[in-house]
Symmetry: C2
Subunit: 349 residues, 2 copies
């Protein structure tokens, strides 16, 4: 496998290097050979080249089998409404250029960490769902306008049948291999795009008669995810709603430092932690590397290397059980990013 | 005061009548005179007139000092992507026609109900914030399109400086009278409209130097509201984001049946529970009337009838403390909608 490494900003580089350790351990233990090629993205790339996604980086990704991504974002760009170049543009362009139209986020409570959740135990027990978020359409990529005098701004949200169909098939297939329930989250009582989603998904659902399909308005979904998260199996939704509810869902498990995601398309796939770049923690050896390591496990699964993926997940679980964790999970911990990464990689070997 | 009553759909009529009882008790106890005029809206209005907001209803509202609204929505319209008329259109048109550009939602944990929250006690303790949601702009009211062949749909989100300014002033003033913190929730790393929001709100903030202003991306806000809700004082946000995060926030207190909201403009104001129309419970004497009664209290506050509003809130708190509550709060309760409404009204007298 050729794997492109895009560490990005903030703690991105700190954690990606730990994921690489685990992948190297897997290669050694299972007799594989993984090639890694690193490239810049985000604020790091702007600083170096003026472009958040330099052509070279895109080339590295395109010729790779998969991309391992760190994190993106730097506060110096956030509060400057006039910034012409933003780190996030690099990520959005990367998703679009690689055709990564589906973002997959598993949400599950880790039994060892159940006490860390802001939710009560009886609320989260049994929670195990996956969000399928459309990733290359909607308001993120629609036309953006600012009037000449700067007093009126607009963003267009647009969806075509074809864009909805391809992700809907993936989501139905996922539901079929799980508990056979698919929930479409939309705002069909207000938005035209949501009504199109509802129509297309309903019609595709006819080819998956074994999957139960239901609908939830996004405002209600935002409540249900907290009130009764175990009701969900697979959630399917558009880009913006998916951004919001998947981050909301990420709090259920008690540590966002543990959650991984996959972004897949027809020809490529990218794996990344869901956490941000936490610039405050950059280079301090305190960032939790587990989400990045579990992203590597998702990468292995994606290529059907199931045993290998299990070995990584097993090693992560042992580290959690044995308290070999970064300070975000145990403030008295003596382990840093590196030590935790080493422990997990050694365990795989 | 002339008060228009718009009971609407589902349990709307069941609860509005209880709020009226409390207002009548206030009138009697404090020597006021309130005139009520009832009108149809939503699915109820479609059934009767074909229009979810008949002109007559709008007239009744326009000549009133304030509107007391019940709930809107009927499932028979939700799953029909081709429905030409929808109950929600009535509500949206009403907001627009009355110029109700600000929706205000207080979120506070009721001490008596703290155990009902899905969140842990230490997470919710101290929570007391208010969401200012823009209510007549953004993607709700932007141009909606469906291509001739029905394969491409779009919704436009648009904001002008003026639309942002008027609600921003209200939010800053609210923060000034509270803990002096305002958080703008947006997605300025992706959306042009959000960047306009950030620019306008930052500039208005200069006139409120005593209020601390900060910014949160909506995905992060969706996490923070659950992880650490007591950090917030006043949250300001656009229409769609406000819809989602205010419903999310409503779970903190443990019962959505208790939460009220105000929608205010320059010339009119409307008060309504945040819960929906729950058609399954319609007419069964089980709906919780408290949110509607507390909406009436917000109405009184709006007209500076502070003592009167306190009397209503006090009566509600006593009913909660003494267990005079509907079955949603205590499944063994012998009290229905009516009994709870009577108890609260009697207590005011
Ligand atoms: C950084 C940002 C553009 C991005 C998004 O909103 O898609 C992030 O929040 C995510 O969810 O991956
Ligand atoms: C019924 C619907 C159109 C409405 C909205 O989304 O504004 C409701 O959810 C609300 O929040 O008042």
């Amino acid at each position: 496998l050729n794997i492109a490494l895009l560490p990005g900003d903030g703690i991105g580089p700190d954690v990606v290097v730990q994921a690489v350790k685990s992948l190297q351990a897997v290669a050694e233990a299972f007799g594989h050979s993984f090639q890694f090629e690193e490239a810049v993205v985000g604020a790091a790339a702007i600083d170096k080249t003026g472009d958040p996604l330099p052509d070279e980086t895109l080339e590295v990704c395109k010729k790779s089998d998969a991309v391992l991504f760190g994190a993106i974002g730097d506060p110096k760009y956030d509060n400057d409404p006039k910034a012409k170049v933003r780190p996030e543009q690099g990520l959005l362009k990367l998703r679009k250029s690689l055709g990564l139209f589906t973002n997959i986020r598993p949400i599950k409570a880790f039994p060892t960490l159940i006490d860390k959740s802001p939710l009560k135990k009886d609320i989260i027990s049994g929670t195990d769902f996956t969000i399928y978020r459309e990733l290359t359409g909607g308001i993120y990529f629609g036309e953006k306008k600012l009037s000449e005098d700067g007093t009126v701004a607009s963003d267009l949200s647009e969806y075509s049948e074809a864009e909805i169909e391809r992700i809907a098939h993936l989501a139905f297939k996922a539901a079929r291999s799980r508990r056979k329930k698919l929930t479409l989250v939309d705002k069909a009582n207000v938005l035209e795009t949501s009504r199109l989603w509802r129509r297309v998904v309903t019609s595709i659902g006819k080819s998956y008669p074994d999957v139960e399909l239901d609908f939830l308005f996004v405002d209600n979904a935002a409540m249900q995810i907290i009130l009764n998260p175990s009701q969900f199996d697979v959630i399917l939704t558009e880009n913006m709603f998916g951004d919001i509810i998947s981050d909301e869902g990420s709090v259920i498990g008690g540590s966002i430092g543990l959650l991984a995601s996959a972004s897949v398309g027809t020809d490529n796939a990218m794996f990344e932690p869901i956490h941000g770049s936490y610039p405050q923690a950059k280079g301090k050896d305190i960032a939790n590397p587990v989400a990045s390591i579990l992203s590597a496990a998702m990468l292995l699964e994606h290529f059907n290397l199931k045993e290998e993926a299990e070995a990584v997940k097993f090693a992560v679980e042992r580290s959690l059980e044995r308290g070999v964790v970064t300070p975000d999970l145990d403030k008295d911990s003596k382990y840093g990013t590196n030590k935790v990464g080493d422990y997990i990689a050694d365990f795989i070997l």
